[in-house]
Amino acid sequence: MINSEKLGHILQNFVAGLSEIQGAAIVTPDGLSLSSALPPGMDEERVAAMSAAMLSLGERIGSELSRGSIERVLIEGEQGYSILMDCGQDALLLVLAHKSAKQGILQLEIKRIVAELKLIFN
């Protein structure tokens, strides 16, 4: 059984670590939220379902177009980024970041938390 308190703790730390990170969620591959730290007003259930749908499409496109297995799906918007990361069989991570985020630092932070999550899920 996954320790949701621990997940919550990891997420809180991650979001607090970089001011450009506006929210994050850990979601099952079928779109249920396991833990989340989202900006106010965002519906957790909806965010979780959308994350799963998006990553599944990204993965499908990756294999169909011979891009190999997909590590992340990035959606760049006017206001900022939505990033989806595969964390193994049982979970994926959604990160919401402000447009001002430096990609290098952001990627580094994300790599760190994904490594941590993979330890929990595998």
């Binding site: 099952t28 959308m50 998006m54």
Partner: protein
Amino acid sequence: MEVLRLVVTGPVGAGKSTFVRSISEIQVVDTDRQATDETAQLKQKTTVALDFGRLKFNKDMVLHIYGTPGQTRFDFMWDLLIHKADAYILLVPADRPAELRNARVISNFMQQRTKAPMIVGFTHMDCPGAWGAKDMAIALGYGRVDIKRPPIIRVDPTNKSSVAQATIKLVEQFSQNLMLKR
């Protein structure tokens, strides 16, 4: 070549993905993932984005067939897929009456967003405890036979010829609707 977009919708486990797999002549695009919600008691996997299949219907027409997810949390996919639909089929499992309510929710959701013609397909009619077609129709609010009632058929998504018949019916419904509009 005309492309007709058909959408297959309905509650969890109705047989939407199976339907698309039965009719498609290309390997379908599916986005089924391990189910961890109540669906897991029913089957291992559930659709999280869409199914896609294709069929050359005749020399002038290609069908693009999209399956939707079943759970309400994926209603953004319902919305996305229905807006481009030329016609759609609502699959309703007859052996799980609890899904009738969800079927009505989906049907209302679609009707608020599209004028595309629809038909209703009862699935799992061969399963133990399945309701009869008449009771199903009444429970869905189609008890009265009047002009507003969509065509209702039985379909077994696991059976290719049954799915072919349902698809023909759906294309007919589309064509009739087109004639009426002219």
